[in-house]
């Protein structure tokens, strides 16, 4: 594996590893690790760092919805144009063009169901190219970004074994 790929694998596992600990795991110098990370950031490969939250454990639980969007294109308007317009809203947490029955898969977040509903009806649905929206409120999340929620597996191995 190249050092770029190794550092990426480590950051995807735990973005809070210190440069020293990453260096120890990859046999690189801490300074080289910093350089690789800086390069990945400059190249835009790493677009940011965020915590993976289990919202159900928060006192103020956020409301999230997955929204299917259908659009019509014309000579002047591309998918990218519509996407750019939608992505600018801070309520939009994720936006992907997908294959299948609908065009965009949009993830929206807000403080309440009414806030999210209002956002969809007042800001998204009126966009002229959007022909249909189907909103799915998230009721429960079991796994986010590869991390399973739950109590986790206890280490039930014998404490010392041959």
């Amino acid at each position: 594996m190249s050092s770029r790929a190794e550092i990426l694998a480590l950051l995807r596992e735990n973005a809070r590893y210190s440069a020293e600990d990453m260096a120890r795991q990859t046999d690189l110098d801490p300074a080289d690790v910093e350089d690789v990370i800086a390069e990945l950031e400059a190249d835009g490969v790493i677009a940011g760092y965020q915590a993976v939250l289990n919202y159900s454990k928060l006192d103020d639980e956020r409301v999230r919805a997955l929204v299917e969007l259908n659009v019509t294109l014309d000579r002047e308007t591309s998918y990218a144009d519509i996407a750019e317009r939608l992505a600018k809203f801070p309520e939009v947490e994720g936006l992907r063009l997908v294959s299948g029955d609908y065009d965009f898969d949009m993830e929206v977040e807000g403080d309440s169901m009414s806030e999210v509903s209002r956002f969809i009806s007042e800001k998204v649905a009126p966009v002229p190219e959007i022909t249909q929206t189907v909103t799915h409120y998230v009721m429960e999340s079991y796994k986010e970004r590869g991390i399973e929620f739950g109590d986790g597996d206890d280490d039930d191995r014998l404490s010392v074994s041959p």
Binding site: E6, R24, D27, S159, V160, S161, P162
Partner: protein, 379 residues
């Protein structure tokens, strides 16, 4: 009730005492565990569950399910260039441990000498004794990075032995051997007509070079039984599934003992194993990569602490020199003072004293904390 002399002659494993000490401690971080910290890949577990739902709870053929033996043959051919006939050259066993026991009982006569490369997994010497054989310890040396060489075999008198048992990648040292290094061992075994019992349970976990099986070297297939299994590579220790591969007469003899004792390896585990071979290459690669990173971490921390440790290149163990003279006492105190468990090397037989087995089959956070505690303890 009177216990047999044969069993009386085999003391309980030295690991037992450390296990008991460790069990008494709260908040202990154990680097003394000889099995993966991962669970078996979900795909394999799911296949096992599905087989139970279908009601597949009967015995299988003595030698194991035919599809599983075929999959093992294909896997071993693809990965290591080993060619065995699923009909009569492969037997599926209840862990590689059962396979080793079968081989001892099927191939060793009372009074036969079995050379045991050490430090080694704790079961080989008792296995030889239970079969009525005489174990001959062959201590490997720290200066050889615990590899088996012609010199250590000759020094131990292994030329007089009838068989040799060894394990590379090695538990407890993490040592591996290249094909080139194995050539010298192979030549020795041909010259002195030794049977080789090659425990390759850690074959999938090498970090510097690919694993070579001694059975692929000229003139070795006919005198070698190879042992492998699912415990280490696929993190399936508790499913108890291994296999042995060798010439038909050896596997046939082992199967005769197996027929009368085990009958067949656990059926549910065989379903998991078949799925593991078909679908879990990526899981194994991912676990291997994680072990490799932890290995680098551990070796680099030991270097920072000034603890001598050769570059272990396989399994999930490092085998540093013990910073104190008495490794047993050091390991005991480390548990009591710092709540970190490691296993003193002498537990694994000749050549192990003065060293510690440090298992990195532990998540990085715990590994880091445990190594910090060791550093505090020695400074």
């Amino acid at each position: 009730m009177q216990v047999s002399d044969r069993v009386e002659s085999v003391p309980p494993s030295g690991i037992r005492r450390f296990f008991e000490l460790a069990e008494e401690m709260d908040d202990l971080i154990s680097l003394g565990v000889g099995e993966p910290d991962f669970s078996a890949p979900w795909s394999a577990r799911d296949a096992a569950i599905a087989s139970l739902e279908r009601g597949e709870t009967s015995y299988t053929a003595n030698r194991g399910k035919r599809e599983l033996r075929e999959a093992i043959a294909a896997h071993q051919s693809r990965k290591y260039g080993l060619e065995y006939d699923p009909d009569d050259e492969i037997i599926v066993t209840t862990g590689a441990s059962e396979g080793l026991d079968l081989a001892m009982r099927a191939l060793v006569d009372p009074g036969d000498t079995v050379a045991v490369a050490q430090p080694s997994y704790v079961s080989y010497v008792p296995g030889v004794k239970f079969a009525g054989g005489e174990p001959l310890p062959v201590p490997t040396r720290a200066e050889d990075e615990f590899k088996l060489t012609r010199a250590v075999l000759e020094d131990a008198g292994a030329q007089e032995a009838d068989a040799l048992v060894y394990c590379y990648p090695n538990n407890p040292t993490g040592a591996t051997m290249t094909g080139e290094e194995l050539r010298e061992v192979a030549a020795f075994c041909r010259e002195h007509d030794l049977i080789v019992l090659a425990d390759e349970i850690y074959a999938a976990l090498t970090y510097e070079h690919d694993h070579t099986s001694i059975a692929t070297l000229p003139g070795m297939r006919e005198r070698t039984v190879v042992f492998n299994g699912f415990s280490k590579a696929y993190a399936m220790t508790g499913l108890r599934l291994g296999y042995a591969m060798g010439p038909a007469e050896a596997i046939g003899a082992m199967n005769r003992v197996h027929q009368y004792t085990m009958l067949s390896a656990p059926t549910t585990a065989q379903h998991a194993a078949l799925d593991a071979l078909e679908n879990c290459d990526d899981d194994v690669a991912d676990m291997r990569d994680q072990y490799d990173r932890r290995r680098n971490f551990v070796l680099s921390r030991f270097a920072e602490m000034g603890i001598e440790c050769f570059e272990a290149s396989g399994a999930f163990y490092a085998f540093p020199e013990c910073p104190a003279d008495d490794s047993q006492a050091f390991a005991e105190e480390l548990i009591q003072e710092k709540k970190v468990a490691v296993v003193p090397g002498d537990v694994f037989g000749a050549g192990g004293s003065g060293h510690l087995r440090v298992s990195y089959a532990t998540g990085l956070d715990d590994l880091k904390t445990a190594l910090n505690r060791i550093e505090e303890y020695i400074s």
